[in-house]
Amino acid sequence: MGIRERLSGNEAIAYAMKQINPDVMGAFPITPSTEIPQYFSTYVDNGEVDTEFIPVESEHSAMSTCIGAQAAGVRAISATSSCGLVYMTEMLYVAASDRLPITLAVSTRALSGPININNDHSDAMGVRDAGWIQLFAETNQEAYDNYLQAMRIGEAVSLPVMICQDGFITSHAIENIELAEDDKVRKFVGEYHPDNALLGRENPMSVGAFGMPCYYMECKRQQAQAMIDAKEVIRRVGEEFGAMTGRSYGLIEKYRMDDAEEAVVIMGSSAGTAKAAVDELRAEGKKAGLVKIRSFRPFPAEELVEALKNVKAFAAMDKDDSFNAHCGPMFAEIAAALYAAGETAPKGINYIYGLGGRDVRLESIRRVYAELEQIAATGKTGETYRYLDVRE
């Protein structure tokens, strides 16, 4: 049995960091993730961890600090949000290409403009092609659990990992949480001893090579393979975590999908609200189900095809927009997965929702299912690119 507590999502992440006791944290504050380095620096100041805390002058430098530290041969972490994540984007690509398993906590938030500090997924989605593993949490509990699994996953495939939770909605909300004991966490996460490192006296290395056209593509193909391989690692670590805590994780979570005819595919805190909507609809005799994406990178294409191939209609919920006059990123990838697998029967629509902190209510999700019922009955999707809860 774990320890019964109540923590906000940011507190939970900082606590996970404390239990892991990483070697270096490079950080620059930005709301709503500011509390993470704030709480963690208290642990540093109190001598509860041995981490070298490096306050830097920008997020670009925060990620550069992590790259240097991880390449030197130690565990490096950071935390950020919104424009901070955008500002470190250049270095995110370097971290992934240099194959450095850095761990970055992201409390997701909208991007300007208009200026907005509230939640959506624009920041994390904006860096979805940077080569990082991206795990999304529905609750403070999942944010904590994902963080404890991050280093195991990243270090197994030599890729950096982003642990995302919804800014304010879970990052600043106090909720019940079950924490794992320190000794169990330490045993689960293990120690980091890379075979080679910049400061490895026995096995030195050179990092950050110039890759000319004759090498670059081979290098990228290998990086792509690491992301493919990450799927199995995420599953394995999720099961092992379940054996320790009773909470198992995969790439997706299916909720009441067994005989579902209408399904919503969603990520982050609103999945919880949508589950409550599913429960209401089921009580009314409707065949509603839900698929929650936990791992957006790697993208769980096979799992989603398997989950959705028998539904009559589904809605992919994007908490950001690609502004491509077509659809959001999640819909695009789900549609591509179904098409590539030859599954064209399910009718799919896309909702852009919850931008800039627009509250996502149970009633909002019920409206989505009502649309899906119509589509299932008529076989007609109509406009597939839709905005939810926007004033006409």
């Binding site: 109540r6 909300a173 019940n176 609103s270 509250d359």
Partner: protein, 192 residues
């Protein structure tokens, strides 16, 4: 969820409404409940209207949205009555607790025809007399616990004593003052 209690707090930036909502979540958690305590974030400034929420239940609540049909509303600053629709969605079998020197019947006319219980508490006076300063959030916390019954009163006082002891370890008069403020507000809250 049948046994879920939802509470909405209205205050002004700097008055401690958010802290009070989190303390209530803490107290409910300590009696074995599932809790959510969360403020609604915006460009916080001292004096600007703010909203905070509590959900308290015996099973985990998965909903992550604001509260639109609260069982109880707490108004930490009476001046908000003229600018904020504090009774919006408030259930008729619930109650509103307002920080005011007035009696409940004097305020009912300003609550857009709200039919449920209206309660008042002079949190400013209690705060000044017990803590020496106007910190209305502690008396408001005591009043809402009394009115909602969401946490057993005795357990609540014991629990808060522990919390205050942790928070103000070296300042005994602050601990004592806060506990006195809680007890007095539970006794003095007027129900109309």
């Amino acid at each position: 969820m049948k046994d879920m209690v939802e509470i909405r707090w209205h205050g002004r930036g700097g008055q401690g409404a958010k802290t009070a909502s989190l303390l209530l979540a803490d107290a409910a958690f300590n009696t074995g409940k599932y809790v959510q305590g969360f403020p609604e974030y915006g460009p916080e400034r001292m004096g600007a209207p703010i909203t905070a929420y509590d959900r308290i239940s015996t099973e985990r609540c998965t909903v992550h949205s604001n509260i639109y049909e609260p069982d109880y509303v707490v108004v930490v600053d009476e001046t908000l009555l003229s600018s904020v629709d504090v009774t919006a969605g408030l259930k008729a079998d619930g109650a509103i607790v307002i920080n005011s020197t007035k009696k409940p019947e004097e305020l009912r006319s300003r609550l857009k025809g709200y039919q449920g219980k209206v309660c008042t508490i002079d949190a400013g006076k209690i705060s000044v007399e017990t803590l020496g300063k106007n910190f209305p959030n502690t008396p408001m916390l005591g009043a809402i616990v009394k009115i909602s019954g969401v946490v057993p009163e005795k357990e609540f006082i014991q629990d808060m004593e522990g919390s205050f002891r942790h928070k103000f370890a070296s300042r005994h008069q602050v601990i004592e003052g806060n506990i006195k403020a809680l007890i007095r507000s539970m006794e003095e809250v007027q129900v109309g």
